[in-house]
Symmetry: D2
């Protein structure tokens, strides 16, 4: 930590800052500048948030600057080599780029089986589908619940594809853990710390989506909640942030891919369906995700988007999905990977 | 709803759009324009999200525009007169502007009683304090839990001030309901629909904070989740949104006050402490909140912010709080209200 | 400046960083921490942008943190007491809060004189009106040009109100300087440095609007361009920033008022008309601006907003303006000032 | 246009809205809904901004919804086939993807020639370099001016690469036109309409950068200013928007590429250097740009970024640039194009 004193801070104030630092376990190291004094704090460069806060409001202190980011277990400094998450034999974080596909919501047996077989045939590696849905309106379809989970398990049996499904509420944890292979934490729950902790305790692979207004720094702290419970199987999923631009539903922030690659060892998943919100932008942005370095891609596929009960407009039809897979394979190869 | 066809949409596509509208329960009313056909849908002008979605992806349809916002129970159209929420005799939404004050976190009996008596003496109407804390890092203080709730109840007994405290997790609901007078839903949980529904069922007064990236439209839909469970005692709290500006911790969006006033009958609370993130901006922005029309103000007060375990830098000391109260009283009077 | 070395930076890299600092005129002051070395740079704590850049890309350097903001002449450190700008006898930055009012665009003699007399009667201190208009579409009205400037001068003669008008283009400078009392730089030109320099040379009072995506730090640097040319008569105008919220045309950032008050001696003007974009929010936000500490308020008034050629929807009618003035006077008094 | 009346609008108000529409040249077509009346306006579906404004503030009108976007000449509806801009034989908008490279600022003969030869050898198609620089601080290097332009011309002579350089100020137009092959409009000037018009009159190819807070819709309107002057050679350049995320200097919005492709016939250029702000993210995002469909890529290359007078931290060294070119060629091939 670096403590910047106000210009004109008096010696007493500087002494108080130094003694507070010592109390908090740091070794103060003052530098007298031309206009002001700056005090380096030797100790944990990370700077515990409460220490930063405590020092920053002392009289005569202008600001406190932590030197290191606050996340530990997720950091490259903690672990240099890339983490590979193994989902029933499907590796996320290796040379091969798995594609996760399926409908936004599980709606019926017929719908799910049709989509599951279609994506399997096109080369997808996992099946996604929501049994519990976070909907902005209380008056719309809220998911099939346990019935949906059972259909997902049936689809896995028929196709062999592992299942990714969202967990919305701690009280559904037992049911979801029973049927799913990957627990998805949605964007609206990315800072629901109660849920993150429970999911950490479950020891199941987790697909953690970035919140709509979550910085990359905070996103890593969200993963830290899961890692700190001893669960190392965390996949970070970029799915778009909220900005002033309305031509896309969110602003799919592909820059997060190289930034995360630099800062963390965890695998990175890209979700161009939620990222853009419109099916016609999904394929170009899936290609771009792979070119930028994504370890996996997750997209929505629906056999009949016109009658989908949620997010129909961002779903690809199976035929378009086949086309996307072919084009993704070509780009993957161009960047030294494979689909 | 208005359905805008693509220029060049063929008659078959227009027919399909019309027949789909009829299936969904709307009466189509086409207008042939110079460049394209537009179809008005008579029925529920609100436009159910799934209907909008279903129509918008039909072949030949360019876009679908709902005419009315999706919230109902929270709207001025549903209820013209302002709602007054009664918290143990303190009215929020009337001529008098209650001030809610207290520490971010309950830390100890001594701290809480000292602050509670100080704010009571300065004229506050309710006591706030967190027993469960949503913290961005898993390595920092997470709240005193039930012990904190008991201290809050003790403070209420000593001062007569009703208690506002945050509910983070459905599993704490029984405990929080037992001790609190107002359930606060924090910004990070504003779209945690599972929690909103439970809180709705509780029938307790709710202080619902706006999420960091929640639009006013979505904020009203969040309140709809609570109202739809039959709980009418919802207070909407503006507490800052996330923007590119970093001089303040959030961008406290005071514009939300007149906008909400126009659109909803629910009372509006302003939180300049979280809104700005720095104690020195709290008083000017509290004054501005009242001038803009807020029905209540909630601020953080700590007897010793330097050692606060959370958010110390945005807390007022009791002496500054006294000053704020006096100045707020003057502005309240200038706009025809009273503190 | 503080130079943070990477963990694992070798001694040669640390030496190179130190010698580069010396070349750039700083005295290096290394602190060896537990995980990494940090080097304090004694010299200009402000840290010239090019020095920060040059040091930050040296091998082994993780980042460079400037200690002081880059603006000088605009800073409170440079000048402690508030600046008062004198516009033909109207003081901006004193106890009295002048209100600047008028139409968005000058449209005709009849329109301008009617509005000018109405606002004069209601107590306004200056007349605003655009002769050159920045319009997002090339197909809409672009302003009356010199004819508009002449009408403004005529209105000044009839009412005694000084004139505030926008300068869009360096080539109009002579004409605008001839007729105007205050040169307004609009939000879209707030980083048009060529124009800022010319306006600085003019020595006329300048009303500098914040850009839609300009941080407060950058806004102060924009004013620095004018101040650096020797022109000290700069008024900073908050007029809304661009965020994800669309219920208002911009997000009028009132927090900027106390933040600017702390950081600069320049007077602060609030523009609730552009800030919110809707006439019905103008009065509450004008009241809030004064409560937050604004030194002046600028609003749009039009005698006939329905036929206004620009921004009609955010203009007050003269009658509403009279009401706003009365209410503003009450709030001004409540915060120890006067209209 | 669709005019939505308030619920409870009286017949007189509806009549007034209809008669105003007729005056403005539209044919009104009312639809009486369950809760309110909606009036379709047959005529120019685009809805002139002043007509929208005029109608939206009539008594009883809730809002006015234009059906078509306001840009015309830039739209796909106006011109279906892709525009190819020919810059001295280099085609932007065809199958081949030209790469434009060079230093942020022209600093010296030695620097420019070294970089120019290096990028030429690596396969770049045009040379970029700034002679006039928009700098956020008035105290930093502002560019070499005409001397810089002359060096650019010399580099063109030596390498055969056409020159792209920024025009900041109308008064430099003659000089820039004399030496440059492409006029670049920077992000800060993207809504400097005076400059856009002049550049439109010049009939030179224009590289128009998106502003930091410019929506895609507005970006197209900016291009319309140039097109409306009869200059059809406009290239649209995505270079990052301002959001809450600070891990990258801007949020490089790759989604803009497929969105622009759908809406306009103009060629699309991607700038990952400004888009991300850090050299280590430039190559992955250049690859992603090509995968997303960019027609050209512009990047900063500097022989010695440590001593660059501007933007050194986002510049690639020539060796890294060679690597980027090879990898870009592979991705271009994978998406059916070539470098």
């Amino acid at each position: 930590m670096i403590i910047v004193m106000k210009s004109g801070a008096d010696p007493e104030e500087i002494e108080r800052a130094k003694s507070t630092m010592i109390e908090l376990g740091y070794e103060p190291h003052p530098i007298e500048g031309v206009l002001r004094t700056v005090i380096g704090a030797i100790g944990d460069e990370r700077g515990k948030p409460e220490d930063v806060e405590a020092l920053s409001i002392l009289p005569g202190v202008e600001k406190v600057i932590p030197i290191l980011p606050a996340h530990k277990l997720a950091s490259r400094e903690f672990k240099k080599e890339d983490t590979e998450v193994n989902v029933q034999g499907v590796i996320v974080g290796g040379k091969k780029i798995p594609v996760i596909a399926g409908p936004c919501s599980v709606e019926s047996e017929e719908q799910l089986m049709e989509v599951a077989h279609a994506i399997k045939k096109a080369g997808a590696s996992m099946l996604r589908g929501g049994a519990y849905k976070p909907r902005s309106s209380p008056y719309t379809f809220q998911g099939m619940g346990v019935e949906g989970l059972k259909l997902l398990a049936q689809a896995r049996e028929e196709t062999g594809l592992p299942i990714v499904t969202e967990i919305l509420d701690v009280k559904h944890l037992d049911a979801v853990v029973e049927y799913a292979d990957v627990l998805q934490i949605g964007a609206r729950n990315s800072q629901n710390y109660a849920l993150l902790k429970e999911v950490g305790k479950s020891k199941m692979p987790v697909l953690l989506k970035r919140g709509m207004s979550t910085t990359i720094k905070e996103f890593l702290m969200c993963s830290e909640y899961i890692l700190a419970e001893g669960n190392e199987d965390v996949m970070l999923c970029e799915r778009g942030i909220r900005t002033f631009e309305t031509a896309t539903r969110n602003t799919f922030d592909l820059n997060a891919i190289p930034v995360l690659r630099e800062r963390t060892h965890l695998p990175i998943v890209a979700d161009p369906s939620h990222g853009t919100g419109y099916w016609q932008y999904v394929t170009p942005m899936a290609l771009a995700s792979i070119a930028a370095g994504a370890d996996a891609v997750i997209v929505e596929v629906h056999n009949n988007p016109e009658v989908a009960v949620s997010d129909g407009g961002q779903s690809l039809k199976p035929k378009k999905f086949v086309d996307m897979m072919e084009r993704c394979a070509a780009v993957a190869k161009a960047v030294g990977r494979e689909l």
